[in-house]
Symmetry: C2
């Protein structure tokens, strides 16, 4: 049986091959670089940690985040948009405010990419 | 031999508080953002994975990496410098070529930062 289904780019098997397992191909490198780039800014990292520290299923209103920064709300919203475009968070508007949460698995997937494979003493 | 003593900026206790545990303070966010920014480029990610996939204790000569890219060697060296400045890799010149390796623990530390704490069903 040749499982020739459509090749979803960031799918399971693919998602889990780590940085230490084999040289990355260009396509996957481009995909992952986008996510790391989104994390490569102190404001975005702080926003992400504010949202993530609410725990699974938790949400954070943009109105709770803005006061922690010396930045305008449009600037904060822009940073949040970049995190969203990177597939790290999602949001929903309810009334005046937009509420954000971390996409389940997004951070674990990235962490899995960075983690060295647990092969006990592979060298000979 | 200039194996610069690694001056680990965010030492132990600090190193392990994850993105999901508490909102990041500005200083740590700035520090981590620098590392993620270094990873936020496809060429650097590919270089890092070339080096990392040699495994612990493994090294990669810059001369082995350059042919995989359509880039000049100074450009490759510049990308490698950014990875080094981010504390992810280190290098040593031997004769004509510079050899690179991943700094032990650097990737695991980052992965640890991204990983959700393993608190079994914390909510009530």
């Amino acid at each position: 049986m040749s499982k020739q289904e459509l090749e979803v780019p960031g799918q399971d098997a693919d998602c889990c091959s780590g940085v230490s397992e084999a040289p990355l191909d260009e396509e996957r490198a481009a995909e992952l670089a986008k996510v790391f780039k989104a994390l490569g800014d102190p404001v975005r990292l702080r926003l992400l940690s504010m949202i993530a520290s609410r725990g699974e299923g938790g949400e954070t209103c943009v109105c709770e985040m803005t006061p922690a920064f010396d930045l305008s709300q449009p600037t904060i919203s822009h940073h949040l948009k970049l995190l969203r475009q990177a597939g790290l968070i999602d949001c929903e508007r309810r009334g005046t405010w937009v509420h954000y949460w971390v996409l389940p698995g997004a951070l674990d997937k990235l962490a899995g990419f960075l983690t060295a494979p647990q092969t006990a003493g592979a060298a000979a």
